[in-house]
């Protein structure tokens, strides 16, 4: 499983390195989301600082949907699903590899976007370790849920519109917990952040386990 996951991760990142969809389409989209929502809130520095975690994670969440669509689209080319199945790619490895590829791209996007919210919105974390831990857990949660629902909607007509409708409500806890953790990272109380980190961790673990167990079945029935 792990060996296949590593092969799939490497393959999906190689495809992204060739196509650069993430760099030229998803990243600018994330920046537009944050900047446009910031415009809507007005020029007040204090309001923007308060809203920065929410704007950041909203941008990340919406961008993750684009990355998931792209990731699922790679597998949807004619003849590929049959070929992968006959090749003997471990379904759990495929799930973990695809989720890891999305997570890696999200981390890169988040690093760049973090620079943006620090420079433009004045976000300052007094406990950066907390913000980083929350970001890593939230990123993995977004990636595993996205990969799972990407496969679920893969064979459906209108996949591009169905996926956001399915996945956004499921990801609401991740958005909420990540925003709360980032707010706590600014001024505390840090004790309250523990609960949100536990929520993010539990979410990531549960959906990882579900994905490993059902991904193969899901792809066969789609």
């Amino acid at each position: 499983m792990w060996r296949d996951a590593a092969a799939v991760l490497r393959r999906d990142l190689a495809i992204e390195a060739k196509s650069r969809v993430g760099l030229w389409q998803v990243l600018p989209f994330a920046i537009f989301v944050v900047v446009l929502f910031a415009f809507a809130l007005g020029p007040s520095r204090s309001i923007l600082q308060q809203a920065a975690p929410g704007l950041f994670w909203l941008g990340v969440l919406l961008s993750s949907i684009l990355l998931v669509l792209r990731s699922a689209g790679i597998e949807a080319a004619p003849g590929l699903a049959d070929a992968q199945r006959l090749l003997g790619v471990d379904p759990a490895g495929l799930f973990l590899g695809k989720a890891a590829a999305i997570a890696v791209q999200l981390v890169v996007l988040e690093v760049i976007l973090t620079g943006g919210v620090i420079a433009l919105l004045g976000y300052r974390a007094s406990c950066p370790g907390l913000a980083v831990a929350a970001a890593l857990l939230a990123t993995w949660g977004l990636a595993v849920v996205g990969t799972l629902y990407g496969a679920l909607s893969g064979g459906a007509r209108g996949r591009e519109t169905l996926l956001p409708m399915l996945v956004v409500p499921v990801l609401a806890p991740v958005l909420l917990a990540a925003v709360k953790s980032w707010q706590a990272a600014v001024s505390g109380p840090w004790s309250s952040s523990t609960t949100w980190l536990v929520v993010l961790g539990a979410f990531a673990v549960i959906y990882s386990a579900v994905g490993v167990m059902v991904f193969g079945q899901l792809r066969e029935t789609m």
Partner: protein, 235 residues
């Protein structure tokens, strides 16, 4: 290359008896029967919609069998069972590779999954005529024939026990067609079972030990091919 006689004691690689297979609710096979022994080449002829591609996909375990007996490489294809992983190679109308990646990168992925030595990738690509810059160019920018050569290379790399080739000569020039014929003979000579479809009766007969004709999801005629016998005695 001389064909190896099928082993006398071993069960055939493929045994289908009165198989009914459904794609959704549509019966794509309606009582199809055939056998393919190890080292044997069987060609399937038939018009569009006769069930040739469905026969290959059913044998590969990609279309569920709902009635009849289907045994592939010792596995009965009922209740979701499929042939042993990695033992069946199917070359369909699409090469089943990632268009954004080069032939070399695609085959490197196949080698990693199939646990094949990656040093074999270059040799296999050279064998199908994809060398130098062509091997490093994204498949989406190559011709249809070159993409099919990449698909063939992926099959060669894996060395499956059962080769399923859906119109393997399609998109190929004369050299490509000779390449396909050579690879089929090589695979069968090495003991693999080969089942291929074709629209060209003469070509199929010269390539195969047995030629089947399909109509309406059934095998309606069985004739001998001329592979390895140098004659043209198709019944």
């Amino acid at each position: 290359m001389a064909a190896l006689p099928p082993p006398l004691e071993a069960a055939p690689a493929v045994v289908l008896r009165d198989v009914v297979a459904l794609a959704g609710r549509f019966p794509v096979l309606a009582g199809a029967s055939c056998t393919v022994a190890d080292g044997e080449v069987v060609a399937v002829l038939g018009g569009n919609g006769a069930g040739k591609t469905s026969l290959l996909r059913t044998i590969a375990g990609l279309v569920p069998v709902v009635a009849g007996q289907a045994e592939v490489l010792g596995v009965a294809l009922r209740d979701g069972a499929a042939p042993p992983l990695g033992s069946v190679g199917l070359l369909g109308h699409h090469p089943g590779l990632f268009e954004e990646l080069s032939a070399k990168a695609n085959l490197a992925f196949v080698a990693r999954i199939a646990r094949v030595d990656r040093r074999e990738v270059d040799a296999v690509l050279a064998r199908v005529g994809l060398e130098g810059r062509v091997a490093d160019t994204a498949l989406e920018t190559l011709s249809a024939g070159q993409r099919r050569r990449a698909g063939l290379a992926a099959l060669l790399l894996r060395r499956p026990r059962l080769w399923l080739l859906d119109e393997p000569h399609a998109s190929f020039d004369a050299a490509g067609r000779r390449l396909v014929d050579g690879l089929v003979a090589e695979a069968a000579g090495a003991g693999a079972a080969v089942l291929l479809t074709s629209h060209d009766a003469a070509e199929a007969a010269s390539l195969a030990d047995v030629v089947l004709t399909m109509r309406g999801g059934q095998v309606v005629e069985r004739a001998l091919g001329t592979r390895g016998r140098g004659g043209s005695d198709v019944a």
